[in-house]
């Protein structure tokens, strides 16, 4: 696996986890789900998770790994969409 693929994969995994946590307890999403037992995240937690999701991409930018950054950016937007779809289909 090339350096670009490795860097993109690792940062995508590192970003996807906080993004999933963010999506799972997103206040607006939970309000639209009837009977949800999950408590929504507070504002500070949301901001922290959002920062954690963006940080790997920022690191790629700072290091100048532009191909890996583009893959990360594209991958994280697709992941966000899929998380929204996946979490909605569970209810």
């Amino acid at each position: 696996m090339s350096l670009t693929a490795t860097a993109a994969s690792l940062t995508l995994i590192a970003s996807a986890l906080p993004l999933l946590l963010l999506a799972r307890r997103d206040p607006k999403r939970l309000r639209s789900v009837a009977g949800s037992v999950l408590a929504p995240h507070g504002q500070r937690t949301r901001q922290g998770l959002a920062a954690a999701a963006l940080l790997p991409g920022l690191a790629l930018m700072v290091l100048g790994y532009w191909p890996a950054f583009l893959i990360w950016l594209g991958g994280i937007t697709v992941a966000g969409w899929l998380f929204a779809q996946g979490l909605a289909s569970r209810h």
Binding site: T4, W66, P67, L70, G74, T77, V78, A84
Partner: protein
């Protein structure tokens, strides 16, 4: 959230919807074929595999292969020579000169094109004629070319096809920007998809969520796509007209080429392999495209476009003296000196094609393109089906369903023609066009016959699923290599595409079995409309 007045929101919503509906049908076709075109090389390898996986231009042996071929073509055709690894993995070698085809005014290329084996450099195919005729004779790249050309120009003649796709790119940019502006809770609703609510909200949420996540790339892909279309259709001819008396070859030579005083004195050509080795030593990269001007003359020039290095988006362009083999300069692709324009130009290609990191970046670009197609389709269906009880809108809703689900059916039928045509001894490219048109007409007939829109969706999806499921078995039954053979040869692409098509076919069949309400309530407003009222 961007604060807008009610009037402005209403205007933007109207622009968003109308631009989507008026141009959405064609825009959807361009995006969907773009999604497929991301994998043009893989499609080429899948449809016409060589006995091994080879995707690079060989850096040794080209010199001998070039001299052997140069000796057997018309001497006029050694004026310009090019080498590159094409979509089907062959080394495409074009010996040509420039001329004007009888009955036409625009200069074009005429010469002999060889397909060389990437390992042995043996001749696999030889074609002679004008550039468009050579293109029509190229069988290995036929399937990939079909999808790429549908994406680039909708198979319309130049420059009209490029103009249409350029305008569609602009429409996509308009829809992206207006969608961004009218959506009042962009961040707050990033994950809100209400599945158990009324059908209108469910469809609205599906469109908005996919559109929101896809927004940055929708803009990038639309901008770069428009750039490529307008550059070919309008910018190059216009600049050529103003500054070069209409001579586009002269314009390209001036902007992209190397300025060398003309010297027709015969001179032996230096060793190409040595130049390739020198270029690799200087840049660390291998050449992806070789261009030779004035072979066999004292003013011969060799231009080597190198592949991007690991971790880089852009690549180098090296110039050599063809008569001496001496390195001349590292030249920007545009102009003679480094410039911001050249840097931006170099960024356009990887940003649009997504091929800068092999299969990894292609997979992401495929997903982004798929999301774009999904946003366009859901937007069209949302806008038209909820108005279908108003005069005229029922036909538009039907047209949206026809294009949305009929186009995939027509596209899925094309590989079947690709594999069946040689057995039936008919021209492959003609068979592909005929099958595409035939499948589109069949979808039209079904769209006119089936009154219920959801039933129409399900019938067309089922047809697409069947066509996709047939592609891999037909490839194998018509003489294509089986999985064991391609696995031994290291052609993982062939197996991966077979599996992907079978999976996609199964998913289409599964989706066709699910009924959905196709009519949306008219008396309810979308959140954006409510805020604009």
């Amino acid at each position: 959230m961007i604060a807008l007045s009610q009037g402005r929101t209403k205007e933007l919503l109207a622009i968003h919807g109308w631009s989507g509906v008026l141009l959405g049908l064609l825009l959807y076709a361009v995006i969907l074929t773009g999604v497929i075109a991301v994998f043009a090389h893989e499609i080429g390898e899948w449809s016409a595999p060589l006995p091994y996986a080879e995707h690079e231009l060989p850096q040794q042996g080209l010199d001998a292969a070039m001299r052997a071929r140069a000796n057997e073509v018309d001497p006029a055709y050694v004026d310009d020579i090019s080498f590159f690894s094409d979509t089907a993995g062959r080394i495409r070698t074009f010996f040509h000169t420039h001329g004007t085809k009888p009955g036409e005014s625009t200069p074009t290329d005429r010469g002999v094109e060889f397909d060389l084996d990437p390992r042995t450099l043996a001749v696999l195919d030889r074609r002679e004629g004008w550039a468009d005729e050579l293109h029509e004779q190229n069988l290995p790249a036929a399937l990939a070319d079909f999808f790429v050309e549908l994406h680039v120009s909708l198979h319309l003649p130049n420059p009209w096809g490029l103009l249409v796709t350029g305008i569609l790119g602009l429409a996509m940019m308009v829809a992206s920007v207006t969608g961004f502006l009218v959506h009042r809770h962009l961040i707050r609703e990033l994950f809100t998809l209400r599945k158990k609510k009324d059908p209108l909200l469910v469809k609205r949420d599906a469109h908005v969520i996919a559109g929101t996540w896809n927004l940055p790339f929708a803009f990038i892909l639309a901008f770069t796509g428009s750039y490529f279309s307008f550059a070919g259709a309008f910018a190059i001819p216009a600049v050529a007209m103003v500054a070069f008396g209409g001579d586009q070859e002269k314009l390209i030579e001036t902007v992209v080429g190397v300025s060398v005083p003309e010297n027709k004195t015969p001179a032996p050509f230096a060793n190409l392999d040595a130049m390739l080795a020198d270029a690799k030593a200087r840049t660390g990269a291998v050449a992806g495209f070789v261009s030779i001007s004035h072979y066999g003359r004292a003013d011969a020039v060799v231009s080597l476009s190198m592949m991007p290095l690991e971790g880089e988006l852009a690549s180098d362009n090296l110039i050599y003296n063809g008569a001496t083999g001496a390195f001349v300069q590292q030249k920007p692709f545009l102009g003679q000196t480094p410039s911001l324009g050249n840097d931006l130009f170099l960024l356009m290609t990887p940003l649009h094609f997504g091929h800068f990191a092999g299969i990894w970046s292609k997979a992401v670009w495929f997903a982004l393109g798929f999301a774009g197609a999904y946003v366009t389709l859901t937007g069209m269906l949302l806008w038209t089906t909820r108005r279908q009880h108003q005069p005229g809108w029922a036909k538009l809703a039907r047209a949206a369903h026809w294009m949305g689900y009929g186009l995939p059916l027509a596209l899925a039928a094309v590989p079947l023609a690709r594999f069946a045509a040689p057995l039936l001894d008919v021209d492959v490219r003609a068979a592909q066009y005929t099958t595409f048109i035939g499948a589109a007409l069949l979808a039209t007939a079904i769209a006119l016959k089936v009154r219920d829109l959801d039933a129409l969706r399900r019938v067309l999806l089922a047809g697409t699923g069947i066509a996709l499921l047939l592609a891999a078995p037909l490839r194998w039954l018509t003489g294509g290599p089986g999985w064991i053979t391609v696995f031994d040869a290291g052609l993982a692409t062939v197996i991966a595409l077979d599996v992907a098509l079978l999976l996609a076919g199964a998913l289409c069949i599964a989706a066709a079995r699910r009924a959905k309400p196709a009519t949306l309530p008219m008396n309810e407003r979308l959140p954006e409309e409510a805020s604009a009222a």
